[in-house]
Symmetry: C2
Subunit: 149 residues, 2 copies
């Protein structure tokens, strides 16, 4: 188990492989983001997407699934995320794309008010199979310090 003390600013982890299927793009968009360019190639051809593209929220969800799988293999004493900053959808994600993710530790701070807890600032970037970044965001998460007793 990795605790606050084990986290090194500047460290990068690379992980994940997520095959984006047309079926899943349509299912997610149909339920949560039914804009025409996420549901039909004809409608998408009229936009800068050119062809059917995944909902940006779906790209976030696929990225989260890679993060959770990575954390299961590399357990951390995490206490959840409070929020995100500077989230940018950098390129469209298309059916057939294969995604992977990179997580960079930007900063860590021990809590002054809550002894035993630290906060991490991490930057997550999702890439497609052409090594193009498609999504990037900064997240603030809490993590426990190593037990002292």
């Amino acid at each position: 188990m990795r605790y606050f003390e084990d986290i090194v600013i500047g460290d990068t982890a690379t992980f994940g492989r997520y095959e984006v299927t047309r079926e899943e793009v349509l299912e997610f968009a149909g339920k949560y983001d039914p804009q025409p360019f996420h549901l039909s190639d004809e409608a998408a051809a009229q936009t800068h997407f050119g062809k059917i593209a995944a909902s940006g929220w779906h790209t976030c969800a696929m990225t989260m699934s890679m993060i959770v799988a990575h954390m299961k293999e590399n357990p951390q004493a995490g206490l959840g995320a409070a929020g995100l900053d500077e989230l940018r959808w950098l390129k469209p994600v298309y059916p057939g794309d294969v995604l992977r993710a990179e997580m960079l530790i930007l900063d860590k701070r021990a809590s002054v008010r809550r002894p035993g807890i630290g906060s991490l600032q991490t930057q997550t970037t999702t890439y497609n199979q052409h090594d193009e970044p498609v999504l990037r965001f900064i997240s603030g998460t809490l993590i426990r310090c190593r037990p002292t007793d």
Copy 2:
């Protein structure tokens, strides 16, 4: 159709109704965010959630579905979102909760480089049935100006 010129800074739209079901919370988390506190009441009882809670990304997705439904009823010449800032998960969302959303126009600017296009900055807040904010984020979107010919 509402164009850039029709958007008024400070305007607020209130919309949506989304019933959060246990089945959907489990389905989304199982696929995209399989952390124990999103999948089991026993695991959630050991955390600050207390009982099974929706993935934060699921709350985003449910909010997006309310936004898209609202935009279908109130069409805008929108050109999509580039990103989000200051996203905060403010309270847990539980099965049985009923969500609604509010969107506030924070700012609008005509593009200097791209005539005919404007950008909007909006703040979206999702509330539960107790009128507690559960999610808030700022988004930057593009919108067409009214055709002049």
